[in-house]
């Protein structure tokens, strides 16, 4: 773990370290916790690096890198303290790298079971700068102490320096290349100092490269979404700046030139969804991305997309902790019921909740096909935790993914029509779609109830037919899409304990299952991925025979447990919830299950923060 004030560059340091490890055949899971602030507040980056693939984080630290005192002791001296630092999270035998100029007495750490590695950050930086004749510009380069600390941590775990050095260099290209050299040099000073001063066996945790077959990449949710959108042929993206969704739009805009996509920053999320819907009606695959506050504003537009049977947009909802501004940079899963019911009236919408970045990629791609095929808005819920967490995964091979634009009329077919009806009533509920500009395809569309031509009507009979037509589409989607996509059973088909979850809790649950097995508790895991259409039969079949059902959710009220009950009539036995804005760790899931199985608790709230 590396911690420091925001603006101290812990992101790049941690990501370079992770990349260096991944290229050495190790597996990484890297997630950041930060404040809604630009400079100064405490943030920390957690890197879990293992020979076996980790899918979650844990709440202990083998090596803590502190860029400031607050990372160690918290901000208890403030009038309104918020945390007590991370020194207590260091595991016995673990170590702490910190700035020796803080002149901390070893006893001030209150621990005699950990190792302390004081490092003269500034002296090492000055030495590094001297090689480039920049020692007089210390203040300009002071942020580079983070790289010194990175080097020292590499030295302590005795990892291959060159792999990390290459990752550092890649961050500085073109005119900035010299900076890359300076950073590598700074890292080397830290690396050498740590090895020389503390010896090769100072820390028992070591990282060794290993051979892995196949090329791997480090990807986080926002990138998975962005690449999926490009792959799916999305030509139009709208957004209003909001954490953590903006990263995705910036990613798309930075690749716009090579991939030809319009990215529009709108005046608000109301405009964002409506502009995207306008583009979708005009024939271009379109999308918008936001988080809770923005989605609240989008409700009205969602309804219009629904009643006008727009082919999209695809809406990516990055879930952060609400309500209102809530905890704007933290994760949560509390928007489930809102997404299912947003906007007044009844209309079909699809809702998909991927469990990790790879699922996010595939689900986002599929969302565009569904939008076209069923002419509905599709919402992909991506937890903030997935959005901003890096994992190493095999490079995705896109083969087998095909664009399906649904029942779109070709120019030559439309031209032959004499009585085109955009909202033609038929058995499937899906009307053949023309787009503006096509000769013969003129249609009207309205947010009022309408007839087959799209003209306003208040006729009761037409209303009934049109409601049935629209709602039929979501039933159809439920029938056509295979259950295997909608939900997954991980682990044995039957087990004494069945864990149930959705979205980003997947990783922690999977990792916790390994721990439980080691303790002698066999569990399986029902991961629900499609919220609408909901896999009723599958969930019923699994849960009606499950012996002990434990729901795990990153919200207060266990919203999915309620939906399961609504859809299947089955009540879960126990709930483990977490609503402190932080994601579940592996050990929190294990502890929660322990509280239920061993201590007889019915509902457990965990909060390791």
């Amino acid at each position: 773990m590396i911690g420091g004030p925001q603006g101290s560059g812990i992101n790049s340091v941690a990501e370079n370290f992770a990349k260096g490890c991944m290229r050495g055949g190790l597996h990484v899971f890297a997630n950041i916790e930060y404040h809604s602030n630009i400079k100064g507040e405490h943030s920390y980056y957690r890197l879990r690096i293992e020979e076996k693939e980790p899918r979650s984080h844990v709440d202990w630290v083998d090596l803590l890198v502190a860029l400031d005192k607050e990372t160690l002791f918290g901000d208890l001296n403030k009038v309104h303290p918020t945390h007590q630092g991370h020194r207590h999270e260091v595991s016995p035998g673990g170590g702490i790298i910190y700035d020796s100029s803080l002149k901390l007495q070893p006893e001030s750490f209150g621990r005699d079971d950990i190792k302390l590695f004081p490092l003269p950050y500034l002296d090492l930086l000055i030495e590094g700068l001297k090689e480039f004749g920049k020692e007089r510009e210390l203040s300009k380069y002071q942020v580079m102490v983070n790289t010194i600390a990175l080097g020292a941590s590499l030295g302590l775990v005795d990892y291959n320096f060159d792999l990390a050095a290459a990752a550092i260099r890649e961050g500085f290209t073109g005119r900035k290349a010299a900076l890359g050299d300076m950073n590598v040099s700074a890292a080397k000073h830290g690396y050498d100092y740590a090895q020389k001063t503390f010896g090769p066996d100072a820390l028992s945790v070591k990282l060794r490269t290993q051979r892995l077959s196949g090329q791997r990449m480090m990807i986080r949710g926002v990138q998975a979404v962005g690449i999926a959108k490009l792959k799916a042929g999305c030509g139009f993206q709208t957004y209003y700046p909001i954490t953590p969704a903006t990263d995705e739009s910036e990613y798309l805009e930075s690749h716009q030139k090579d991939y030809n996509m319009i990215v529009v920053q709108t005046e608000d999320e109301i405009a964002a969804i409506n502009m995207a819907t306008g583009a979708a009606h005009a024939g271009l695959r379109s999308s918008t991305s936001t988080s809770g506050p923005g989605f609240s504003l989008m409700s009205e537009g969602l309804g219009w997309a629904g009643i006008t049977e727009a082919p999209g947009p695809v809406i990516i909802l990055y879930q952060r902790a609400g309500p209102a501004t809530g905890l704007p940079t933290r994760t949560e899963q509390a928007d489930l019921r809102f997404v299912l019911h947003a906007a007044h009236g009844e209309f079909p919408r699809m809702v998909i909740a991927p469990g990790d970045s790879v699922e996010t990629y595939y689900d986002t791609f599929d969302a565009f096909n569904y939008a076209d095929r069923y002419q509905v808005p599709v919402i992909v819920m991506v937890d903030k935790f997935i959005a901003s967490t890096y994992r190493d995964v095999p490079v995705i091979n896109g083969d087998g993914m095909k664009v399906d634009r649904g029942n779109m009329l070709r120019d030559e077919d439309v031209a032959k029509l004499t009585d085109y009806r955009r909202y033609q009533l038929n058995e499937l509920g899906i009307s053949p779609r023309a787009i503006p500009g096509q000769k013969g395809g003129i249609f009207w569309t309205t947010g009022d109830e309408h007839d087959e031509y799209g003209h306003i009507t208040e006729a009761a009979e037409v209303r009934v037919k049109m409601m049935r037509k629209r709602m039929r589409k979501i039933e159809l989607a439920g029938e056509v899409i295979p259950d295997a996509k909608k939900a997954t059973i991980h682990g044995p088909k039957t087990a004494p304990v069945t864990l149930i979850g959705w979205g980003s809790t997947k990783g922690a649950i999977l990792d916790a299952m390994d721990d439980l097995r080691a303790e002698g508790t066999e569990a399986n895991f029902l991961q629900i991925r499609y919220v609408n259409p909901f896999p009723e039969k599958l969930v019923y079949n699994v849960l009606s025979t499950a012996r002990h059902k434990i729901m795990i959710e990153n919200n207060y009220s266990a919203q999915m447990a309620g939906i399961i009950r609504e859809k299947t009539g089955i009540a879960v036995d126990n709930k483990i919830v977490k609503f402190d804005g932080r994601p579940f760790s592996q050990n929190e899931v294990v502890e929660g299950i322990g509280d239920i199985l061993k201590n007889g608790m019915k509902e457990v709230t965990v909060s390791h923060a």
Binding site: G235, F236, A271, M275, A282, S286, W304, V395, W444, I456
Partner: protein, 309 residues
Amino acid sequence: MPELRTYRTQVHNDWCPGCGDFGIVNAIQMTLLEMQLEPHRVALFSGIGCSGKTPHFINAYGFHTLHGRVLPIATGAALANPGLTVVAVGGDGDGLGIGAGHFVNTGRRNVDFTYVLYDNQVYGLTKGQASPTLPKGIKTKSMPTPSIVEGVNPIAMAVASGYTFVARSYALDVRHLKQILRAAIEHKGSAFVDVLQTCPTYNDINTKEWYSGDDLPTKAPRLYKLEETGFDGRVKDPTKAEEVNAKKGSALLKSFEWGDKIPVGIFFKTEFPTYMDQLAERMPVLKDKPFVEQDVYQRDVAPLFEELT
């Protein structure tokens, strides 16, 4: 060859007898005919309210959207397919009340389309409440008390927001309205047309007779044409900020004339690169044809994954 009836639909029109909306719909249909625009190349967008029904009466692609959201939806379609002639229409409450934020930001973008504001100072379909353009101190028929808030100035707002064509006309002068609409549609960029309009049911102040000046001692019509007074709002050299600013200033001054004399005509016009022009600078393929006509479904994303290795 298109005829006037080419642009008509059979949909029953339920506007009040004598409504100014009829004049606007007729003028739109006549303009499309005059320009010989084929109906399938035209897309009409509307907001909510009496004016919102407009697309249903015109034979062209028609989008009856949400209250206040007509501009974002029209923008999305216009950017997706710049080959379309896009005309957005809406009432003054729709555009300057609930949709005011979109009105301002649409002007900033300069997307190539036309926005026609049905300006009758009242909310018609909800039975006559004060709309944003109703001046302070006025009480129309169904208002319990006079308005105690200032009315907004649509022309000034449009100029300040960046619309590159800003004009005003009158719903009951279909000939003038047709001229202005044609100039607006032909203009490359965001064109705004404020159409003064009577609401015979709820606005008993700004009536046909009022606009004709029947109440004035001179009995002279209140409306006069800007170009007949030598006013020229057209910028000759858009690269000269000084000229652009001077023209905007004159337009603003003119826009505050109200009362016994009310100007109609073109207040401001300049040629600036449109939103799409600027996108095409970034993405040259847009110069050939719009994305909606391109195959964007075979993108090779392998290099993006490669970046992450």
